[in-house]
Amino acid sequence: MGAASKPVRVQLDENQTQATVRIDGISRPIIAPVLGVEPANTSEPQRIYLASRIHDGQPHKYTGWDLTGAVSTIMTRLPSAADGDQS
């Protein structure tokens, strides 16, 4: 059985201090404090560092944003992420 695909969407507030994350399978959004945002450049994709861990460590294949990290979640934008997902 291959890893299931799980869409992830995120919206940041104006000050980029709070992220509203929507993960497939959970109806309510997950609100997490943001520690920092790294903008995309030629070699690195956009990254959002959260203060919480919002991924479960199961072998999911995410679409939109990849969720990694041991103690807290690092969201890394995947090439297919819709432009309007994050402001």
Binding site: I30, A51, S52, R53, G57, Q58, T68, A70, V71, S72
Partner: protein
Amino acid sequence: MSWLERTSQRQSKGQRARKATSLGDLHRRRAETQAQFWTPSWVASGIWASLAPAMQKVPENRLIKVLDPAVGSGRLFTPAPLDRCSFYGLDIDQDCIQALSEETRGSEASYEFAVGAMEDLTARNFDICVMNPPFGLHLAGPNMRPYACTSFGPFGPNTAATSHEYALMLALDAAQLVAAVMPSSADGHCRSEERLAAVYRLPRNTFKAEGANVATSVYVFGPPGFSGPVEEFSVCPGEEWPAPAVAFKQGAGDRRVVFRLNGIDFSEPTISTPVTGDPTVRIDHHNRRIVLNFHCGLTEAKVLNALLREDVPREGRHRYPKEIRYRGDGHFYLDTYLLQEDPDAALNAFIEQIRQQGGAPAVSPTFTGYWSKLKKRHHRAMEPFRHWVKMDQGDSLVLEATRSTLLEPGNPRSPAIRRGTQLKAVPLGGEYIVEYEGHTVQQRRDVLEKRFTFIGGSELARDKEWRLVHPGLEAKFPEIAKAYRAQIAKLGIDQWLWPYQIDSLVELLMKPCGSVAGWQQGTGKARLAIALGLVSGKALLCVEPGLLPEMRRELIKLQIDPSLYQVIEGVDDTRVLKRLNLVSYHRLRSVDDRDRMLAAGLRRRVTTVIADEGSLLRNPGSLQSRAVARLSPRRLYVLDGTPVANYPRDLLPIAGATAGDGVANQPFSLRQRPFMSPALLRSASFVARGIDEFRDRHVCIDWAVNEFKDDLRTGAKRELPRINDVLGFRDWAGRFVQRRLRDEPEVAPFAGCPKPIYEDHEIGWDKAHFKYYLKHAIEFAQWYRNHKAECGSSGKGLNLVAILARIRAVMSAANNPHAPGRNSLGTYVPVTSKQRAVMERIAEHVAAGRKTIVYMESPEMVRRLQRELQENYGIDAVPFHGQRPIEERTAEMDERFRFGDCMVMLCSWCAQRGLNLACAKAVVFYQRNWSGDVEQQAIARTQRPDQDSRVWVDRFHLAGSLDVYMKQLVEWKVAAADAGLDWGDGATEDDVFMHMDALIEEFCEETLGMRAREAYEKMLAA
């Protein structure tokens, strides 16, 4: 199409899996289905109908939180009122959760679906739990909650359960109302819950369409505290389900739901450091762990996530140490850096990693100093003690195959060897490297002896010479040794220690941690203890209560200034401590009126603790061990002539107490710490607990229950007294066990004494005694067979405690029939053949002018032999046993036996340690002991430097009794300890070890067979 109807139409694994065609095929089907059978829709609708009245009482503006810990296709959620509920579903089947997620995408419902196992779930504050859990699966996991249905599993206490029972307990813990589809076999389990409100019996064919033929019912439980009559209903498709009289508790539903897998809580921040932009990462330490302090939350997230990487994989049944959670956890153990080829380079690479993540590492001066000190200490800790061993002479031996075999049995690639073929074997201290046709194997002597003979007979193979295998610490660090020698000379200790004792003392002091002084008996441990205490500054010397007078006598003999030492008799003596403080273990563990141990008052007040006869620390749970651990000294020295008291694994707790627990120089751990290895720095994936690694490497077990695997002490097992990887064991033990033997070249001129002469006596039975014994033996044999059959039919293991208690009665019938204990069938008063033989032997020794010590199990036997010797042989004997006060028995022993004219001392095993009885020239074992070290220690009472004769050691066995098994067991235990510590070859008289159950089986065969043929007639005739 309504909510979740599409997923509800998915086929279950039960429907998809091929039907079982035979009984044997059931296992295949069970593995394929994973007990996944969907609940029929009419049952799901019935459950919600039964809960509807209770739900109607909930205010409409509040969502009812519903849990299903085995959600599957969501069948049980389908009939629920969508606008009134918030759904939480968990399932191990990723496809199911994917399908549910896809179907619910964009829906108005409130839900959360997760992939995971219910054994990893923490769930609380739900209103309702509906479930059809998998039936009868064996669950095991480290995150399980302790319930009445959980048992000792592969991950420790409360880590195993049957799936449906665990699911029910989880649901009752998580929700107010529970509706569970359960197998009828769990009826008793469900009815034992007071909260049970109603039972809906389902038709037998309810799950037939799913491919399962099982009788089931739906059990509905009320909220906590509910207690009412259980309503019973039989329901069929199309019928209405009556509602039970249950209701939600007011206010209970307002609490926040907890729905966590593996302890991960999405709603709580894991990093609370504010974002400041200061990249400083301060590197410090707490004991032997690296501690990082951050000034900015973003830096913390970047650095910690980069170092720790991700969770360790949790597949299978691998048991992780409690401290391990992430792949990068090894970065934080300083010990794993010490084990790298270049520790400084490895540590710098770690610091560089912090820098790469944008951190500015600032190493604290405390850390720098500690790291520098740790490296130096590590070099000394890893260096083995000076060690002389007796090894085979010559470079190689010749083996001849006694039968056709493979060079390495079990490996089909190894060359075949014909019977009679001769091979070359290179001895390697107990193990041999055998080469044939370009292939080499390394095997123990006892393993080789099963298939080969050593050419030239065992004499050649056992012709040995002393070799220095490790030159010791002084050769490696002469400057440090010089400083300690100067200190010893300044205190005048060198005036009363022999040269080898001074050398050994210096080595012990050079070790950065405590050690085991495993000096053979009669080599001067008492003096070593005093010397260690005086050098250390402020020391506590713990001795067994019976040996306090011996130690006092030694202090007086050495003319130690009385102002330097004291004996602690109570709390008052602990107010002001002297340089050397003597205390008995009994006193140390005694408690005052406030239930406070004496040891607690001495905590961290002495730098050094010396534990005389310290192998008693092998049981970390005993009061003595706990009292010594409570002292928490900088260094703990264990002094014992037989540090491997029983099985080789007994050395592990002592290693942990002296050399450190799970550290670089002692990588195994008794607690939950990881096995310390260089690989831990790369990844903590599948790192083992220290104790598991020790068991896998060095302990020989056929099988063991989880309790035994957990701590290597409790629970049943079938263990061979042997050491696996004996070379690795020696390397490990050589770092913290200083072994000194009486006969080694540096010790023999001072402490050597002639070797004892061993003689075993097999004694025949008196008819009447045999009749009495047979009655017990047959009773035991029949009981054992019935017990075994009962256990076999009920699928349970044998009750070893009951077996040992009853076998004790058989042993008592043989050796102590005049005063039998519990489980005995009457008494046998006449003097037995064994007792007569022992008394005759004693009389022979006395006639030859040899003072004799006789060992036996019970004080009753001591009294009987004393009386019989006096009446029949006119021989006076001193009784020494545990039923007499220590002062009284020691005084009489000194006055009449040690320094007097009495020729015989009769004692129980309490006299096997510490006493210095060179006056005795003969030791008689009326009966055997289960432990090798007890017998060795008993003989060693006579093996002192001032012993001038060869001591006779007589051991008496009743023909065909359990004495024979005890003899074998003791031989194997002694050989195993010898192989591990003294580089012996581990060879014993018997090639094949006979386990207790095999021996009992054979014993029963013989006993019952004998009755059938001749014994029964003999009994009648007798």
